[in-house]
Symmetry: C2
Subunit: 343 residues, 2 copies
């Protein structure tokens, strides 16, 4: 089984020794970054919606984006996969193909260097990604300063729209995920399905942001509203969003009209949220979406929408609207997919 | 939950940035080794037998031993933990305590630098361990040469005896694992319980072996018979075991009489199997257990016990007995725990 899975994998360029010994051996130039993320059938994905290739792709993409968000070059993944005994080997091969294809497409030179295969009641995958800072300082969440420009690179809101679409049209009559509608949904709405099932975060832009002077950066996995609040709190600032800038930058993506609410609350985008000094040019691929504002000393912002009500706002760090956009998440349900001509 | 778990962790000495950002950041001097291992409730452990502390300890120990087996210094662990929704936070805290305690005891300077907490039907833990080769070449499985001494460091057979004991006396009448007998077993047979539930592999001896000229090395996780066959095949040699040497080196450990069969087939020892040129002194902690023999060109060995029948012997690489020890595994069941005075 392992041999058939390993046959899908290309060699990572930092590898001095690949799978097969107690450990893989890697060559790195600078400090190492490391991150781990788990995806479990049920809470994190449904095999009725994801085929194995897409699952492998998403496993790689979501970890690569964490490496990119430090300003590092992804070098290697390890994959711990545990599956039910009746899992077809073909599913494992497709997962390996997806992992490998995502590395080649999104982070050339990176690859799977090791892993582990075991038995579990549901498909369980834990991926660890390593990256090389190549002598650069890591870009942390805590470096945003008042006056910085808030910028974003990647798709924004499409993945959440894709999930809403799957929940709206991809369920069987008993409420469980069904594969029946998936081919039709792919045919009709490929952009939002791809964003949800096999996202393509702009991995090289993490290095571009670091080289371009980014003061803080993180990848947006839970939702722009939630993750930007984390960055704001780590930096002790407020992140002010402009719905006009969000509309201009991300109102139409791949021909899909994306409402600001989906951008803010959709989640699973895996693009890069970064802050830059106001006097530097944004690296190509980043678009401005707001401004970093000094955190008020009291617990609430002044002269603007209050910080998101569902988060403890600490010392006043948080997020606010510069022009009246509702920032409080209303969850997954209310998004309506608007396609050109159907709005 | 995460805050309570993170509170259990000490900082690893290679850490430049610990948990809380997209990635942890680590400083390394030489090439990096990386390994991943998963433990899943059911196939890999039973919470009726392991408490959380022991589970965390074993998670760390089993991964640290893979790093040691390359001749590297363990620097960092990442831990992806997924648990049922009704899991008490206390269990997670105990797992974190065990992870941390094992790092401090077995590999000082190493620690947990990041992780992920999610939901799964059973307790599922994937640990990735990193190590620093500090300028040394990695010790691979493939370097054993005819004439080398085969040596082992660590406990051997005790962990298998512990598992046999738990299966013999730690089951409820319906055959499921029961916690009822565990305190009594700990009181009566602490050595074999500890070896099974919270093993203490000799991590620093991995570096000692590398510096002492080891030509090949691996950690013994499945069983000495199975893992030595892997080393033999990787090196295209035969590993010849001497039951006299096994008896002399490991026949009594911590007061427990260990049969050669348990040494060969017990499994989960996590000690270090290494080969050394015959003219170098074995590093302290390693004891000789056999000799590396040239692989015969035909498919079977000559003038000795045939290679283990359950493995495909490839070009004749494999294991053999130098003095009539039975090398073919008979599985877990037949071991009988022999204590001094009761044999």
């Amino acid at each position: 089984m392992l041999a058939r899975v390993l046959a899908q994998l290309s060699e990572a360029s930092a590898v001095e020794l690949g799978p097969g010994d107690d450990c893989a051996v890697l060559r790195h130039e600078g400090d190492i970054v490391v991150t781990t993320d788990t995806m479990i059938e049920g809470p994190d994905f449904r095999l009725a919606w994801h085929d194995g290739f897409e699952l492998g792709w998403k496993l790689a993409a979501t970890n690569l984006s964490d490496v990119a968000a430090m300003g590092a070059r992804p070098t290697a993944l390890t994959v711990a996969l545990a599956v039910p005994l009746d899992t077809p080997v073909h599913l494992l091969e497709r997962i390996a193909e997806g992992l490998d294809a995502a590395c080649r497409a999104l982070a050339p030179g990176c690859g799977v260097v090791g892993g582990d295969l075991g038995r579990a009641p549901v498909v369980t995958a834990a991926v660890t990604a390593l990256g090389d800072l190549e002598g650069r300082a890591p870009v942390l969440r805590s470096g945003a300063r008042a006056g910085d420009v808030v910028a974003y690179a990647g798709e924004l809101g499409l993945a959440g729209l894709g999930l809403s679409l799957l929940f709206a049209e991809g369920l069987a009559s008993d409420g469980t995920a069904s594969a029946d509608a998936v081919p039709g949904l792919w045919a009709a709405h490929p952009e939002v399905l791809a964003a949800q099932l096999a996202p393509a975060p702009p991995i090289p832009l993490g290095i571009a942001a670091a080289q371009g002077g980014a003061t803080a950066m993180m990848d947006v996995s839970d939702a722009l509203s939630i993750d930007s609040e984390r960055l704001a709190r780590a930096s002790d600032v407020q992140i002010g969003f402009s719905s006009a800038l969000l509309e201009r930058g991300f109102g139409e993506q791949s021909g899909v009209v994306v409402p600001v609410e989906a951008m803010l609350h959709g989640g699973e985008d895996h693009g890069l949220l970064a802050t830059f000094p106001a006097d530097v040019a944004l690296p190509a691929g980043f678009r401005p979406i707001g401004t970093v504002v000094e955190a008020p000393k009291s617990g609430s912002s002044v002269g603007a929408e209050p910080v998101a009500a569902h988060m403890d706002t600490g010392q006043g760090a948080g997020i606010l609207s510069l022009d009246g956009t509702a920032l409080v998440s209303r969850g997954w349900d209310p998004y309506i997919v608007q396609y050109p001509g159907t709005a």
